[in-house]
Each structure stands twice: as C-alpha cells, then as structure tokens.
Symmetry: C2
Amino acid sequence: MHFGDDLMARTREIGHPLCAGIDPHLDRVPELFRQGSMAPADPSTPLAVEALALAFLDRLVGKVAAVKPQIAFFEQMGSAGMAALERVMAAARERELLIVLDAKRGDIGSTAEGYARAYLEPGAAAEADALTLNPYMGLDTLAPFAERAAAYGRGLFVLAKTSNPGSGDLQDRVLEKEGPVYEVLAGSLVPMADELQGPATGWSSLGIVAGATYPEQAERLRALLPNALFLVPGYGAQGASAADAVRSFVPGPGGLEGGLVNSSRGLLFPAAGQEAADAGGWEQAVDEAVARAADELQAAVAR
Amino acid sequence: MHFGDDLMARTREIGHPLCAGIDPHLDRVPELFRQGSMAPADPSTPLAVEALALAFLDRLVGKVAAVKPQIAFFEQMGSAGMAALERVMAAARERELLIVLDAKRGDIGSTAEGYARAYLEPGAAAEADALTLNPYMGLDTLAPFAERAAAYGRGLFVLAKTSNPGSGDLQDRVLEKEGPVYEVLAGSLVPMADELQGPATGWSSLGIVAGATYPEQAERLRALLPNALFLVPGYGAQGASAADAVRSFVPGPGGLEGGLVNSSRGLLFPAAGQEAADAGGWEQAVDEAVARAADELQAAVAR
C-alpha cells in the first residue's frame, strides 16, 4: 500500500482528478433528508447528515477516486456527529473510495501522536487514507504523521497556499532573501516528499494544499515539489475554473496529472437537488453535477 | 460574561496563574484507573480516561482558575473518546473551573463556523470558555471565532510562538522589513484584541499562545499586545522555569499578571501518583504536585 501510487493509479483509470468534498452545511441539507430541527445539538441531526452523506457516496462509486469529508461539519454535532462521520467513512471504504479526511490538524509531538492515532492507524474508528495538516507549529509536528504515512501507506496534505482571500495574511509574506512563506514552507518539505515517493509512479504520499484560486502560485509550488500530490480546493463554488485548478499538473501517461481537484458544495448541493420532490430527482441532480465537473476536468487534463 | 475579565478576576483571587492541562496519555494512566487493554479502540479505554480526568478535576476545585483539556488525547479514542471529553467538560463546568479547550483549529469561513459552533456556542455538547486557534490560513479564518467571543463572552488563544523546538521553522522566519513571523502575526491581532477588551480589567478575550521555553520572544510579544492574555505552555515537564513562564507578565493589583501558565504531565502524572497503591495515595501525589506548581508560580508573580 502506498497512497501516492494508489491515488494516481485510480485517477488514471477514472480519467480525471475530481475529488468529492463532503461538507454537510446543516442549513443546506435538502428537504428530502431533513429530520427534526436540524440544530447541531438535536439528536436527529447527525442521522439526517449521515443519510445525506451515504446517499451521496452511492452516487460516487466508480465516478471519483476519492472523497474528502470535512470533519468540522461533523464535529459541530459533538460526539454524535463524530460517530456519524465514522459510519460515513466506513461506508466510503466499503465502496472502495479513497478517503482524504480534511481536519487540518497540527500540534507538538505527543499531541500529534494522538491525532495520527485517531486518523491514520489501521483499525481506528475514523480511519482515513490521507489527512490534511497545518504546518504553523513546525516540521517536527509533522513527524508523527509522516511515520504513519511510511508504515501504513497513508497520504498527507500539508497546507501551503490555501484558497481563501485571507491566505495572503501570512502565507504570502515575503521572507528576507528566501521569498514568500508558502514557497519556503514547500521547499522545506522536499526531503519528506522524497522519502515518501512511490515505487510505481514516482508520486509521493506527501502532498500539499494549493488553492485553485491562486494558479500562478500553484505553478511555482510545482517547480519546488515536482513529486508531491496537490490537493486543490477552490474549484467550482469558490470560483476557480477547471483550467486554473490543474495549472500545477504535469504530463502523465493519460494526460495531465498531479493530484486531486476538490469540489464540495457544487456536487453535494446542486440547485436542482435542493428542490427535488423525490429521491430519484435528487439522485439525478447529483449525477449531473458530478458528470459536469468530471467532464470539465477531463477536458482540462486532456493533452 | 467576558472571558478576559472573568479569568483575571479568578486568577487574582486564587493568587497564581496556574492552568491544569488534561493530557491523558494512554500509556501513563496510573494502574489505579486502567481498564482493559487501554488500546484507543477498546471501549473501556475512554471510561478509564474519564475516571482519571474526573478524579483530577476533584483535586483542582478552588486551587486553579482554569483547566486545559487537550482534545487530541480524546479524539484518538474516536467518537467514544469525544463523548468522554463532553462529560469531562460538563464536570469541569459544574465545578466552576474555566475550560480552555486546546484544539488548535483553523479553517476557512464556512468550516470555521462549524468549529465555532462545536466549541463556543451555549449548549454545545463540548462547550468551552476559550479555544486555541491556528492562524496559518489568515485573519479571515479567525472571524467566526471572534464573533462568538463577542456574543457569548468566550476567549481565544491564537498560536504565536509555540513551545516546541520546531517552532522556529516558520514562526521565527524573518520577513523583509517587518521582522519575525510571530511578531508580525501578533501585530496583526492588535485590532481584534482591542475590540475584545474587558470593561472591568482592561484585559482582552483575545489572547495568544507564547511558549515559556522562549521567554525573550514572550517579552517582545507583550510589547506588541499589551492587553492580550498569554496562554503559556512549556512550564514544568517541558523544561521552562516559573520565572521564564511569567516573563511576559506585567504589574497588576496583586502581583504580576497577564494570562495562564499551563502544566499538564507534571500535575496529572506525578511520579508518586503512578506508584500509588490506593486512591488516597494518588490524590495526595496530585495535591502535592498542584501545590508545588502553585507555590512556584505564586512566588514568581509576587512583586
């Protein structure tokens, strides 16, 4: 098992890098799935979210290589929400979808061990294939995650240049002689990326997050990290085009490749799905949204 | 309700800034409390951790102003661990201990809303008085937390200069003209600190994390943020002295003041407590460790 090789084999087979984000905003859950008040503390809310997520997973089998649950939308419902997330992740695993858990964790050694145990060890209740990480506290805080990546074939995506407007506040600041923070950070990840390089494809299990909303920065990041997988948020609802989303991609056997392009709201909450009168109508709306995004990205990676 | 005012009133009354960290390392749980295999996935493990944490809380009533549960040690046990954390936090609230939840969350707007709802809203299953935050993604990612701080009197501690050796990798990097990253970050927090300033004491509900292991940096941070509470890790087991831990403190009505100094392992896992044959022996070991740290800090803040 090697996350980089496995992900790349699957995206090559599927023909596009679309990753389906699972961000269940409580106020957007379609009427079809709603239960009770939908307040975070209402015990029926996690059940409604779980039903939505499971129905969504059923639409994705064979259509995307990976899903990306955003843990905050489950955490907001407390431990009952976390139990729902565990069931959704188990269902994704049964459906042979790779799971990139978007948790953006980061802490000092002994605490990072706890997070690594929570999400990257075999048999963990919320066992993921890959995890997003925040590097602010330093490279030593990434080590416990890198150990699990090496031991169990997991993937890591370290925040470099995020898709939000405020990403400039710290990430774009320019260091004396060295350049912008996000580039310096990326440069410091090179040894870890090389250590986790895949034997089959050359792609590493150490990746970064590089927002589609900043395509020129993504190109510079690719130059610094030629073998890192890029997890690219910002495509779709956040405004970036398919072409911008794959700006960091490089030629591969079947077209441009280099990571995953995530879309969340656009797939989980298509406008037509909100108004659907029955399950069939909702399924059709989601199928169309997924097919449209997959087609757009397939065209963008075609050489 | 205002976190800054409330915390300062309590630490003034108690006479020292000691905060008791709740970091239940599974392999350190004393024999007295152990149940089953103590593996993270064993259903009896969260019960053992909960029993330890509740017994610890009983030793702290009237002795410290605040406790700081580290969420990773509960998350590693999955949703059952999160349920145990919720019960421990409810018990801390009943015992009138302020709760600083150490979760170091940080994400873009809609996702940050989820985290803010999870930990800072009244009635949340894991309702905290204050939360630690990671600023890497930018100031816009702090806004949903600042809104709850203003609305519900919560406190926020933003990572500035952390206590670990790797904190230099990014935080100490020097920006062109502007100085080190951690100082630039602290400077950018000034407007938020001013907005959340307490009417009674002048202390803000917006604080920072500034490790005791870097006392000179903490002094510079105090100059930049005169009204911010500092949450100071690194005292005790991590090696910093009481004098170093309060280097950022300033004269107040009863001595030096300016935030909370955390000790985790030193209080929860005192050597004598590990070997205790009965509950009385363990209680005595914890009481002595808490009294020793409180006395040291009381001496350090005496003018």
